[in-house]
C-alpha cells in the first residue's frame, strides 16, 4: 500500500447525431427546432392508438452515408427493433431502434492528435433510431412535455473505449462534426442538440505492479464540446480520488450514471430504477427489413467525398499550406471544394488560400453564407490569383478586386481596369517615367548616391514619385529594379 500510483483513463463514447431530414423518421411532420410546443406532431409521432410507422428513405440513406464515412461495414440486411422503457417524452413507451442487426458495424474514425498526427478510434456500431421528445422542467411540482422532437431520426454511434483523455474525446467530437457537416447528413449544431455525447469512463490504476479497474461511470447531459472535455477530466480525477480513498474496483453490473452540472462544473450521481436496463428488445413488427442491394449501396457510396482530416493533411503536404490555413479551408466542405476547384482552374494554391481565408471567408461570415454563395466562381478566383502572381495587381489590390467581384459579379481583369488597379510592369514605358522623376529630383538622387543614412529614405521618396506619376499603376517591384539599375546599389 501507498506505493507509487499511475493511472490511465479509458473512455468509450455513445454519440447521437441528428440527421437533417426535412421530415421525421416515421411520419411527415417537419423536423424543426424552436417551433411552438407540440405543434409539429401527428397521430404517428404522438403514438396514438392504431398508428403505424413508415421509414423515411432519406434518413436511411443519410445513415448509410455517415456509416460509410466512418469506415463501417454496411449490413446488407438490417431490421428494426423496439426498445421498451417508460418515460413521459416517449409517447409509445418504446423507442424504435436497432438491436442485433444494426445497419453498420466495425468502423473507425481518425482524430487529430498533437503534431499533425492522427489516432484511430474504433467504432463498434452505428445504427438508426428515433429521438424522444423533451421534458421541460417547470416549477410548481409539474413538468411539461413537448413532443416536437419525437421521431426525429438519429444516428447512434458507439465507439470502443479507445479514447484516453478529455481532449481526445473533444477532438473526436469536433472531427465527427466536420464529417457529418461535410456529408450534409447533419447540421451538427451542438446548441440545438444535433450531437449528444455520453461517455463511459473508468480508470486503469497501477499500484505496486498491480492493475485495478475502477467502476464504469456514464456521464449524461454534456451539451457542448467543452462540457465533454471537462466532464471526462473531472471524472478522471474524481475516480482516482475515490479509488485512493475506497479501493473500490469494477464488478460486473456496477455501472453508475452521473449527470454533468455545467454551473458547478462537476458530475452528480443520478439515481436509477432497478429495472432500468431491462429494455425487452424485440423485432418491430410494424416495419419490414431493409435489404441493401449492391447497386444501391454503390450509389450511396458515390456521394462520399474526401473527408476533412485527409484533406487537411493533403493541403499541408501537397501545397505547403500552414496547418492553420489548411484547417480553416477544410472547416467546411463547401470551402474546401471551392478551394480545390480554384486550384484545379490554375490558381496558385497559396495565393488562392490567401484570397479565400483573408477576404472571401470574412465576407461570407459577415453575410452568414457560404463561400460559394458570394457570386464569384472558382475560376474567377484562380484568375485573380494568377494576376497577383504575374504582378498585374498587388496583393492589397487583389482583396479590393475580390470584394468588387462580390458586389458586381464581374471578371477580375475587368474590375482591375475599371478600378485602375492594374500595375504597369513594362520596363520600357516605366523607364521614361523614372528618367523624368530623376531629372526633377536632383537632391534625392544625390542623397541616394551619397549613400549613408539618407540613402534609403531618398530611394523610397523616388519610388513614391514614380508611383504618383503613374497613379499607382506601376508595379513597385519593377520600378525598384529600374531605380536600382540607374542609381547603382539599392
Amino acid at each position: 500500500m501507498g506505493g507509487p500510483v499511475e493511472h490511465k483513463v479509458i473512455v468509450g463514447l455513445e454519440i447521437h447525431v441528428q440527421l437533417c431530414t426535412r421530415s421525421k423518421m416515421f411520419c411527415g411532420c417537419a423536423v424543426e427546432f424552436g417551433a411552438e410546443p407540440n405543434s409539429r406532431v401527428c397521430p404517428v409521432c404522438l403514438g396514438m392508438p392504431g398508428v403505424l410507422p413508415v421509414m423515411n428513405r432519406q434518413a436511411f440513406e443519410y445513415a448509410v452515408l455517415a456509416a460509410l464515412a466512418l469506415n463501417c461495414e454496411i449490413a446488407r440486411f438490417t431490421k428494426w427493433d423496439r426498445k421498451g422503457y417508460y418515460y413521459p417524452d416517449l409517447p409509445k413507451n418504446y423507442q424504435i431502434s436497432q438491436y442485433d442487426m444494426p445497419l453498420s458495424a466495425n468502423g473507425f474514425i481518425e482524430i487529430p492528435v498533437g503534431g499533425g498526427g492522427t489516432k484511430r478510434i474504433r467504432i463498434i456500431r452505428a445504427h438508426l433510431e428515433e429521438d424522444a421528445g423533451k421534458n421541460v422542467h417547470s416549477t410548481g411540482g409539474f413538468s411539461q412535455v413537448d413532443l416536437n422532437r419525437t421521431g426525429t431520426p438519429l444516428l447512434e454511434i458507439v465507439t470502443e473505449p479507445d479514447i484516453n483523455s478529455g481532449a481526445e474525446a473533444k477532438a473526436l467530437a469536433v472531427e465527427l462534426q466536420r464529417i457529418v457537416r461535410y456529408l450534409g447528413v447533419s447540421e451538427g449544431d451542438m446548441q440545438k442538440g444535433h450531437m449528444r455525447f455520453e461517455p463511459n469512463i473508468n480508470l486503469i490504476v497501477t499500484r505496486d505492479g498491480t492493475e485495478y479497474r475502477t467502476p464504469i461511470v456514464e456521464i449524461k447531459n454534456l451539451n457542448s464540446f467543452r462540457a465533454l472535455e471537462r466532464g471526462i477530466d473531472y471524472e478522471e480525477q474524481r475516480q482516482l480520488d475515490e479509488f485512493l480513498e475506497t479501493g473500490q474496483v469494477m464488478e460486473s453490473g456496477n455501472k453508475t450514471t452521473r449527470g454533468w452540472d455545467d454551473e458547478r462544473q462537476m458530475t452528480v450521481l443520478q439515481r436509477e430504477k432497478e429495472e432500468a436496463h431491462d429494455y425487452r428488445y424485440f423485432p418491430e413488427p410494424d416495419l419490414v427489413p431493409v435489404e441493401l442491394a449492391e447497386g444501391r449501396l454503390n450509389e450511396i457510396a458515390s456521394r462520399l467525398c474526401e473527408l476533412p482530416i485527409s484533406r487537411q493533411v493533403r493541403y499541408v503536404k501537397e501545397f505547403g499550406l500552414s496547418e492553420y490555413d489548411a484547417g480553416v479551408l477544410t472547416g467546411e466542405r463547401a470551402t474546401a471544394e471551392f478551394f480545390d476547384r480554384a486550384v484545379e482552374s490554375g490558381g496558385e494554391a497559396k495565393r488562392v488560400c490567401n484570397l479565400l481565408t483573408q477576404t472571401g471567408l470574412k465576407i461570407a461570415n459577415e453575410r452568414g453564407c457560404g463561400i460559394g454563395d458570394l457570386g464569384f466562381s472558382p475560376k474567377g478566383v484562380a484568375e485573380l490569383a494568377a494576376m497577383v502572381e504575374a504582378g498585374d495587381v498587388s496583393a492589397t489590390a487583389s482583396a479590393q478586386i475580390l470584394e468588387a467581384m462580390v458586389e458586381t459579379g464581374k471578371e477580375p481583369r475587368v474590375l482591375a481596369e475599371e478600378l485602375s488597379l492594374l500595375q504597369k510592369s513594362d520596363a520600357g514605358e516605366l523607364e521614361a517615367v523614372v528618367e523624368q522623376v530623376l531629372a526633377e529630383n536632383r537632391q534625392a538622387v544625390e542623397d541616394v548616391t551619397a549613400g549613408g543614412k539618407k540613402s534609403k529614405k531618398a530611394m523610397g521618396f523616388l519610388l513614391g514619385q514614380v508611383m504618383q506619376k503613374t497613379r499607382g499603376q506601376a508595379n513597385p517591384k519593377v520600378v525598384s529594379q529600374i531605380l536600382a539599375a540607374k542609381l547603382g546599389g539599392g
Binding site: P43, L46, G47, M48, P49, G50, V51, L52, P53, V54, M55, R82, G84, Y86, P88, P91, K92, N93, Y94, S143, V145, L147, H277, D278, R280, Y281, F282, P285, D286, L287, V288
Partner: protein, 490 residues
C-alpha cells in the same frame, strides 16, 4: 328489407328502387329495439348515419355515381379509429378517447358510400374469445341469451346475425373474426396478413392482427373485400400489388374450383365435440358430392400453435399497450403523486384483468433471462407451423377443420380459468401464426340449436379461391339463411 344481402340492398339503392334513408332508419330503429338486450353496439351514430344516407339518396336521384356499398348500413368494431364518436377498444382507459384520424378501412368504407351506423362491442383490446372482457358492455349470443357471442369481435358477429347491420368489420389476431362468426352463425373472413391495411386498427398482436369482414353471406364478404383490400402507404406491412394483386372478389366468386383437393387433419380434428365433428364431416361430404377429393394431411406442429401464440401475441401486446399510460391521452389516475405513479395507477385502475394478465405474460416472455426460452422459442415454433402449412398446400388446395371445439358456451363459464379459455382457440390460431387466410361459414347446428362453423384455410393471398370454395358450399346449403329467434324484434 333486413333480409336482403348487402349486395342486393346496394343495387336497389343505386337503382333508386329503395332509399338508403329507409334502410338506415329501419336498422337504427331495430337497434333501438333489440340492442338493449343484445349489447352488440358500444356506440351508434344516428345523426351522421342519416345524413350520409340522405346524401347517397340525393346523389342517386341526381344521377351521380355512387360507391360499391352505397347507402348500406354497416358497423365497425370499436378498435378501429374513427373521427366520429369515441374509439374505446371496450376499455375504460380509452372510454373517452377521440381519434383525430380515421383508420384506412374506415376511410375506404366511407369512400364506398357505406353508412356506418355504429361501433361494435368486443373483448377489451381484442383480448378474449367471448366478449366478456369488455369493460363497457355485455353482449349475448343472438341464438341463446345465456351464452357468449364469441370474441373478440362478438359485437360485430352478433350485430350481423341479428340483422342490426348488413355487414361489419372485425379484427382477427387468433380467431377473433372466425370464432364469433361461428358462434353466431354468420360468415367471417380473416384475410392474409398484409392484405388489408392495419393503419388505424388499435394494435394487439401486430404481426398477427388482420381486419376482415363479418357478413351474412360469402358474396357479401367478397363485396366487403373489394372495398377494404389493398396496399396502404401508411402500413409498411400491407402488401404491394406487384406481389399479390387485389382482384374483383365478387366476380371470381361464381367460378367453382375444379378438381378441389381438401386437406384434413383427422387426428387434430378429433379434439372437437361430437356435434362439431359431425357437422364438419357432413360439410366435407357436401364437397365430395361436388366432386372434391379429400386428402389426409399431417400437420404435426399444429398442437403447439396455442403455446407459441400466447407468447408472441402477448409479447407484442405488452409493447403495444405500453402507450396507455395516462400521460398523452386516456384515463389518468387522480391519485398519482409522481410520474411513475401516473403510469402504475392509471394502468391499474383502467385496464381489465385479462389485459393485465396478457401484458404481464408478454413482459415476462421478453424480459432479460427469459427471452430465449419463451419469445425466441415461440418464433421458431412459429416457423415450423408455417412449414406445416407450406407442406400441406403442396398436397391440397385448402384445409378444412372446425372453427372451435365447441359451440357457444355459457356466459361466465370460463372467465375464471384463462388457460381453458385460451385452449378453445386451438383451431383458429395457426392461420394467424402462418399469416394465411381463413374463413368461417355456417355449416350446421348442435342439439341446442347453436350454430356451428366450418373453417376453410387456403394459401397466402388466395382469398379469391377461398371465397369461391366457400361459395360452393353455400350454394348447396341453407345454413346461412337461418335466423336467430332470440333477437326477436319485428
Amino acid at each position: 328489407m333486413e333480409q336482403l344481402s348487402a349486395k342486393a340492398l346496394r343495387d336497389r339503392i343505386a337503382a333508386g328502387e329503395t332509399s338508403s334513408v329507409e334502410a338506415t332508419e329501419a336498422i337504427l330503429s331495430r337497434i333501438e329495439d333489440v340492442d338493449p338486450a343484445l349489447g352488440a353496439y358500444i356506440s351508434t351514430h344516428r345523426e351522421m348515419a342519416m345524413e350520409r344516407a340522405a346524401d347517397v339518396d340525393r346523389r342517386v336521384k341526381a344521377g351521380e355515381p355512387v360507391g360499391e356499398l352505397a347507402g348500406v348500413p354497416v358497423a365497425v368494431k370499436d378498435n378501429m379509429c374513427t373521427t366520429f364518436g369515441a374509439t374505446t377498444c371496450a376499455s375504460a382507459i380509452l372510454k373517452d378517447f377521440h381519434s383525430p384520424y380515421n383508420a384506412t378501412v374506415v376511410e375506404k368504407l366511407l369512400a364506398a358510400d357505406a353508412v356506418i351506423v355504429g361501433k361494435t362491442n368486443m373483448d377489451e383490446f381484442a383480448m378474449g374469445s367471448s366478449t366478456e372482457n369488455s369493460a363497457l358492455r355485455r353482449t349475448v349470443n343472438p341464438w341463446d341469451g345465456a351464452r357468449v357471442p364469441g370474441g373478440s369481435s362478438g359485437g360485430s358477429a352478433a350485430a350481423v346475425a341479428s340483422r342490426l347491420c348488413y355487414a361489419a368489420l372485425g379484427s382477427d389476431t387468433g380467431g377473433s373474426i372466425r370464432q364469433p362468426a361461428s358462434f353466431c352463425g354468420v360468415v367471417g373472413l380473416k384475410p392474409t396478413y398484409g392484405r388489408v391495411s392495419r393503419f388505424g386498427l388499435v394494435a394487439y398482436g401486430s404481426s398477427l392482427d388482420q381486419i376482415g369482414p363479418i357478413t351474412r353471406s360469402v358474396a357479401d364478404a367478397a363485396l366487403m373485400m373489394n372495398v377494404i383490400a389493398g396496399r396502404d402507404a401508411a402500413d409498411s406491412t400491407s402488401v404491394d400489388e406487384t406481389i399479390a394483386p387485389v382482384c374483383d372478389y365478387l366476380e371470381k366468386l361464381a367460378i367453382p374450383v375444379e378438381g378441389l383437393k381438401i386437406g384434413v387433419v383427422s387426428e387434430f380434428n378429433a379434439g372437437a365435440d361430437e356435434p362439431v365433428r359431425e357437422a364438419l364431416g357432413e360439410a366435407i361430404g357436401v364437397y365430395e358430392g361436388l366432386g372434391a377429393e379429400v386428402v389426409e394431411i399431417g400437420m404435426p406442429r399444429l398442437d403447439y400453435a396455442i403455446a407459441a401464440y400466447y407468447v408472441i401475441a402477448t409479447a407484442e401486446a405488452s409493447s403495444n399497450l405500453a402507450r396507455y399510460d395516462g400521460v398523452h391521452y386516456g384515463h389518468r389516475s387522480e391519485r398519482a403523486r409522481d410520474y411513475v405513479k401516473v403510469y402504475t395507477k392509471s394502468r391499474a385502475e383502467a385496464l381489465g384483468k385479462e389485459v393485465k394478465r396478457r401484458i404481464m405474460l408478454g413482459t415476462y416472455a421478453l424480459s432479460s433471462g427469459y427471452y430465449d426460452a419463451y419469445y425466441l422459442k415461440a418464433l421458431k415454433v412459429r416457423n415450423l407451423i408455417r412449414g406445416d402449412f407450406t407442406e400441406a398446400f403442396r398436397k391440397c388446395d385448402c384445409i378444412m377443420m372446425p372453427v372451435a371445439p365447441t359451440t357457444a358456451f355459457g356466459i361466465g363459464e370460463k372467465v375464471d380459468d384463462p388457460l381453458t379459455m385460451y385452449l378453445s382457440d386451438i383451431y383458429t390460431i395457426a392461420a394467424n401464426l402462418a399469416g394465411v387466410p381463413a374463413i368461417s361459414i355456417p355449416c350446421g347446428f348442435d342439439g341446442n340449436r347453436l350454430p356451428i362453423g366450418l373453417q376453410i384455410i387456403s394459401p397466402a393471398f388466395t382469398e379469391d379461391r377461398l371465397l369461391a370454395i366457400a361459395r360452393m358450399f353455400e350454394r348447396q346449403t341453407d345454413w346461412h339463411k337461418a335466423e336467430p329467434t332470440v333477437s326477436g324484434g319485428h
